[in-house]
């Protein structure tokens, strides 16, 4: 089977997964026993006329049987009509896309942190298997996954913003993406929506530095969610690779341990970390709901959390579909890149 056929096969398979997700999502909005699907579209407490209700019902095709409703729902999804969100006061998809750069910036920073800290920790644990360093890495990573991330976020704000500030020391900002005053004085023309990239491209250093400082605490809190799994995968994969014959050969040729570990072992051992990128991203997007709420970070997660408080299930369910779609796209990209980069992958 050729490479193109492989890509097409993956696309079809992922398309099927998305189809399945869309059915689940449709069922949540329209088919839940004991839940009136109209409720999601009405603001509680506001009076609404019978005529308005009826026309809304007609507009959403609610009198039709479920399969027909699904057809119209799916047609809407494919045309970018994901339903009207009361919280965002606009359609779900544009509302999410508008806030996506903030979340991607945060998630990428979190991934970088967890890889930069997690990979060396996993390697050290594997090299010192069952010794003190291994145990230490293990205890630290178990402690890491045990932290409720919203609590950790608040404690970080308390220590690095409030207590440092009280002591008159330089402190980190606790809320938002950028300092309001800095943004007023040094306005940024949005190009990509990623503040760090836009700031650099436009040479707006005060804005860039403020955005960077605002990123530190939320990114660290979010990175904790994925760090433990990076450490664990890295350790297991490294142990596996270190047992291979070619490592023994490299060692017996008299290569220095550093070269064997970094050039020979690490390059092969790191692939499992990369192939789980899609799953990791999904977990981070879930974590983003919590972290963005703690740090008032104006991303998709914060919007979804606001949707929850407003009982806006059109938005919350739309967010679920959005996250699933992003995971599917990243998984596809990783698979394809992997097949290109690693000649051992047969497709």
């Amino acid at each position: 089977m050729g490479f193109l056929a492989y890509v097409i096969k993956r696309l079809l398979l992922l398309g099927l997964v998305l189809l399945g997700v869309s059915i689940v999502v449709f069922f949540l909005l329209r088919g839940m026993p004991g839940v009136d699907p109209l409720a999601a579209y009405i603001t509680p407490g506001l009076p609404i006329s019978h005529d308005a209700l009826n026309s809304l019902r007609k507009e959403l095709h609610l009198e039709q049987p479920l399969p027909v409703q699904y057809y119209f729902y799916m047609a809407g999804l494919l045309h970018g009509d994901w339903g009207y969100s009361r919280t965002a006061t606009q359609n779900v998809l544009p509302a999410l896309l508008e806030r996506l750069p903030a979340t991607i910036e945060l998630a990428v920073a979190a991934v970088l942190l967890s890889v930069l800290l997690g990979v060396p920790a996993g390697v050290i644990a594997a090299l010192r298997k069952d010794r003190a360093a291994d145990l230490a890495v293990r205890v630290v990573s178990i402690t890491g996954i045990s932290f409720p991330v919203f609590w950790l976020g608040i404690i970080l704000q308390l220590v690095f913003f409030y207590y440092l500030g009280q002591l008159g020391l330089p402190h980190l900002p606790a809320r938002g993406r950028v300092d309001e005053l800095v943004a007023l004085e040094y306005p940024l023309q949005p190009i990509t929506g990623f503040y760090l990239i836009d700031g650099l491209v436009e040479g707006n250093m005060p804005f860039f530095l403020s955005a960077l400082a605002h990123l530190v605490l939320p990114a660290f809190a979010l990175s904790l969610i994925s760090m433990a799994s990076v450490v664990r995968i890295m350790r297991a994969s490294m142990l596996e690779v270190l047992r291979q014959d070619y490592i023994l050969l490299a060692r017996s040729k008299g290569l220095p341990a550093r070269v064997v570990v970094i050039r020979h072992a690490l390059r092969n051992a790191i692939t499992p970390v990369l192939t789980t990128a899609g799953t990791t991203l999904g977990i981070l997007l879930g974590g983003a709901v919590v972290v963005e709420t703690v740090f008032s970070w104006p991303g998709v997660g914060q919007l979804a959390a606001q949707g929850i408080l407003n009982d806006d299930s059109v938005l919350v369910v739309g967010f679920t579909l959005f996250v699933a779609a992003m995971m599917v796209i990243v998984n596809l990209a990783v698979d394809v890149l992997y097949a290109i980069v690693d000649p051992r992958v047969r497709y």
């Binding site: 689940v24 991330v149 608040i154 929850i308 009982d311």
Partner: protein
């Protein structure tokens, strides 16, 4: 004794969890329910002292009592979610692994569930059902059973090729009896080994979702909502956030210590 010496961390985890479980279990009997409704704004936000070990909250209530009462709710919810999810997953997984006709459809269903991060899907389900701890628990069961189903199916696929299964089939043992009396008891251990860490994970997830808005409101003590309520006073009265959060952390840490050991001890694939 040797076992205990070699697994100090797991023993420590087990002891801490047992202590928290015990405190949570007796809390409703030891602490009068009136504490929750005993709103005294004159006493609000007092710092921890001899009378109020954890201080008082924004309603002037004793935070120590609130955290203990919350332990009861949170632990009960997390334990029953995992018990229900494991039970459903184990039965479904055994059916999928043993009966070929059911394998494909059940696996495709789990594929769909596993392709959405569990926190996000639980959020959507609970949001549609309506905000309450009960609906949140139902949502968490719905998103948690597929992983048990997958694990169990894998176990059963290897188990059913063993001679004793063929021998029993020859003797005329029916499908249901085979699955429930023979296969499940013989393949359960590695699947159940997942449970302790899972209780910790569900506990954190539930607290997180409760923190962002699924919480039961100010008159039902719950760890995540206590943290959310305290956040407004974080710089003024940090103990409101520190103590309930520390309770979540300590509980999930103890469960993860036990879970880490259980996974290594019972999952043959992870033995290195």
């Amino acid at each position: 004794m040797t076992w205990m010496r070699r697994n100090k961390l797991a023993v420590a985890g087990l002891l801490i969890f047992a202590a928290i479980l015990l405190m949570g279990a007796i809390a409703p009997y030891a602490i009068s329910a009136a504490v929750v409704r005993n709103v005294q704004f004159a006493n609000k936000l007092t710092a921890p002292d001899g009378a109020h070990w954890f201080g008082t909250d924004d309603y002037g209530r004793d935070l120590f009592s609130m955290v203990l009462l919350a332990a009861n709710l949170d632990l009960r919810a997390a334990l029953s979610v995992v018990a229900a999810a494991a039970a459903i997953g184990i039965v479904m997984g055994a059916l999928a692994g043993f009966i070929d006709r059911l394998d494909e459809p059940l696996m495709r269903v789990t594929d769909i569930f596993l392709s959405i991060p569990s926190l996000v899907l639980a959020m959507a389900i609970a949001s549609v059902l309506g905000r309450s701890i009960q609906n949140l628990s139902i949502a968490l069961v719905i998103v948690s059973w597929p992983i048990y189903c997958r694990l169990m199916r894998g176990q059963v696929l290897t188990e059913k090729r063993k001679p004793y299964v063929r021998a029993l089939t020859t003797l005329g043992v029916g499908h249901m009896r085979m699955i429930f009396r023979h296969i499940i008891p013989n393949t359960l251990a590695p699947v159940v080994a997942r449970a302790p860490a899972d209780v910790g994970l569900i506990l954190i997830t539930m607290a997180a979702l409760s923190y962002i808005g699924f919480g039961p409101g100010p008159y039902v003590p719950e760890w995540g909502s206590l943290v959310a309520a305290g956040q407004a006073y974080i710089f003024q009265a940090p103990w409101l956030v520190i103590f309930p959060g520390a309770a979540i952390f300590l509980t999930s840490l103890s469960l993860n210590l036990v879970g880490d050991w259980a996974r290594d001890a019972f999952d043959p694939r992870l033995r290195t």
